[in-house]
Each structure stands twice: as structure tokens, then as C-alpha cells.
Amino acid sequence: MAEGAQHHHPQPRQYVQIALVLAVLTAAEVALFYLEDGVEEIGQTLTVPALLILSALKFYLVVAMFMHLRFEKPLLSRFFTSGAVLAGALYLITLATLGAVILF
């Protein structure tokens, strides 16, 4: 491998394990969704952050492990996070000025 990083890369076994984790996380997401529907008291205040956290975890796992970003030069993660953060920030502000999200 270009960076001599080959031996750090997970082996198929680990990939399957990661996929299992992803599957469990997805199941948890769906479960949360039904929880929110079913149990009034929990409501969105709890499920929404929980869902966001779970999906962020999944996101991280795929990017870090499947896309090998953890094992790449920092330059690549810098690009990647810039894109993600910029998009998040710009659209959040846009939604706020349009009154769809309350920031100020």
C-alpha cells in the first residue's frame, strides 16, 4: 500500500464485525423511532438527540473503517471534514434565517 499502511487495515473478519455493529445501531434507530411513537412521555426531546448520535456513530464507522479514513494521511480527513462541517454550518444558518430552525 502506498503509505505502508496495509497491515493496519482491518481484515475481512473485522469488516464483518463492523457491519454487525452497524446493523445493531440501525436496529436501535428504528426501535427509537417506534419508542417515540408509542411512548408519549419520551417524546422528541430525547429521541431526536439519540437518533442523531446513533447516525453520527454509523457515519463515523463507515467513514473511518470502510473508507479507511482513519488510516489515511490527515490531508484527506481535512478535506472531508471541511466539506461536511461547511455544509452543516451553511445550511443550518440558512434554515435559521428562513425560520425553519430556531437559532436566534
Partner: protein, 203 residues
Amino acid sequence: MAELVGGHGEGAGHHQVTGIDSRKLGMWVFLSSEFLFFGALINNYLLFKGRDFGPGALYPVELYDIPFTSISSFVLLMSSLTMVLAHSALARGDQYQTRTWLFATAFLGVVFVSGQFFEFGEFILHGLKLNINPAASAFYLLTGFHGFHVIIGVLMLMVLGFKSMRTGGLSEAEGLNVELVGLYWHFVDIIWIVIFVLVYLIQ
């Protein structure tokens, strides 16, 4: 593996200062801009989903079939696994497995897109047309744009798979292509992870 491609083709002739193959760097650079594409579409959906379009308006949320979408999301998630297995097999030099996993990934992609077509069909039958209200427009444009990405990915996977079949295996030079298509594929997957939560689960 990747750097052996060095001697050939575009993005290669020169030494590579960052130590990252130019094509791979290019792919990551491109993917970072993809966030802005999808972000804009998600932004639209989030804006319109809460708008009031008057009495009797039909919103996408009302038609979601969460179990169905959960399964197709799961399918797409697993296609990332098969994709990474294809790449890993190639790194070991196992051409047969590479090919198998490539086709498996393409197949899962097709299943996902078919699911989406089915979902669209259902929604349209229930009267949720593209032009019924902006929320519907935003929903279709977002998921459609994502589906389009999946279709492109499937095409690229097929080209790689068939090439491997025809020539008995992918050369090391083409190995980079597997990695690049893989990156693209995982990216499309993570976007769906976001869409699944923001669009489907959080209502």
C-alpha cells in the same frame, strides 16, 4: 498496491508530493464537495416538511413505510460491507472473490434502487406527486438525486466486474479503480445514513 499505478495514465506521471495518488486525492476532494450538493437538498426538505400547505395537503411523512425503508437502508448499509470485502479481496490478490463481492455490491445497490422505485410508485399511487406541494418536490428531488448516485455507482461496479470477468482479473492498475469506486459507494451510503435519520426517522 495503489502507488504501482504510478507509471501510467492520468494523474500519475509525476511524483506525488502528498504521497497520495492523485486520482484518490481527486476523489476525496470531489466527495468533500458532494456534501454541499446533498446538504442543499436536505436543507430544502427540512425547510418544507414543516410548512403548512393548507387543509388537506399531503406530506411525504404521512406515507412513510418505516419497516420497508429500514430494510432497504439495511441493504444499502450491507452493500458497504460487500464493497469493502471486494477491495480487501483484491488487496489479497483473490480475483474470484473480488469479482463476487463487486457483483454482490452492485446487486444490493439494485435492490436498494428497486426499493426506491417501489416506494415512489406507492407514494404516487397515494397521490403524492412531484408537483403536489414543495415538500413532496423536495422529497423526490433529494431521494431521487441519491438514487441517481446509486445508479451511477452500480454502473461503475458493473464495468469493473465485467472487465474482471473478461480479462480474468483486475490488474493492479485497475485496483485503484476499485478503491475509488469503493470510496464513492461508501459516500453514497453515509449520505443515506443521514437521510434515513433526518428525513425518515425524525418527523
